[in-house]
Symmetry: C2
Subunit: 147 residues, 2 copies
DNA sequence: CCTTGAGTTGAAGTGAACTTCAAGTTGCAG
DNA sequence: CTGCAACTTGAAGTTCACTTCAACTCAAGG
């Protein structure tokens, strides 16, 4: 049991076989073939699939995920250091996303809790109204850059 | 300027006019009409649109958002209390989502930082391996119920 | 009045992320 | 060696959340 069949990888990763084939077509994961043309996955592919699932949770597109995975070495199985490097980048994005949601939650307790929900007046529009320049919508909440 | 045109609502909410029409078709927002059949939005609709944007950030489908909005009174403009009640429910969902992402971030520092990334062994698979019963994938991370 | 930008419609198109289907092949347990 | 679950393929279908289009009407400033 050095390698996994598509069914096994599916069972262990929780990703449907059809999705795994799709990921392969899209260049996100790789498989070797048996003499009879069936896919066999190196155990290392499990990590790639895990990474894909995690990145999706953060709200990243498959295109971006592929880009990230492409930065892993092609000619050898990625090492701890490889994954570490990759995950550091994503930890940052994750934190960014968490910050947005926390801000959302806090405003939901305050601004929206008070009933205004416009998110433009109230606490959000601070005295100088600096955010108004940013244009439309609940800037500070939905756009991390407008902090 | 008691009411807003679709262009004005779009500018203030940051949602494209086509999206606003789409939301109306889907029953998420409402508009009255001028004698010439143009939409005019009550200012209160701005709150609905804000709510929609926020809920989408949390990863909620328009179907679910409609359900939530349907719980608002139909015959009168929602009060502070109405929005407060609604937002309390969503604050909870938001918190749930934040917790998932925080767990993800922490494991990304530990488990993935060490290079294993399988999320099944390592810290995640605790001694008793209680999670194994849950089946596939990084259960404790991706599924809030498996806490 | 006239122009022009903003608005109207239904239908069709888009892109992301898959799933389903049909028709056939492979791998392994008995 | 047989039977059957698991695998293969490309093409087409699905869902979500919109956007685009074409052909048209409306609203308001000069």
């Amino acid at each position: 049991m050095e390698t996994l069949t598509i069914g096994e990888l599916s069972a262990r990763s929780g990703v449907a076989p059809s999705a795994l084939r799709f990921y392969e077509r899209e260049g996100l994961i790789h498989a070797s073939r048996t003499s009879g043309n069936q896919r066999r996955y190196d155990r290392a592919e499990l990590r790639r699939v895990s990474f894909i699932k995690i990145a999706q949770q953060v709200g990243v597109s498959l295109d971006e995920i592929r880009e990230a995975l492409d930065s892993l070495p092609e000619n050898r199985t990625p090492t701890r250091a490889d994954w570490s490097r990759l995950s550091a980048r994503w930890r940052y994005r994750l934190q960014e996303r968490i910050t947005v949601l926390e801000r959302l939650r806090d405003e939901l307790s305050g601004c929206i809790g008070c009933g205004c929900l416009s998110l433009q007046r109230c606490k959000l529009a601070n005295p100088g109204d600096r955010l108004a320049a940013g244009g439309t919508g609940p800037q500070r909440i939905l756009n991390p850059a407008a902090g």
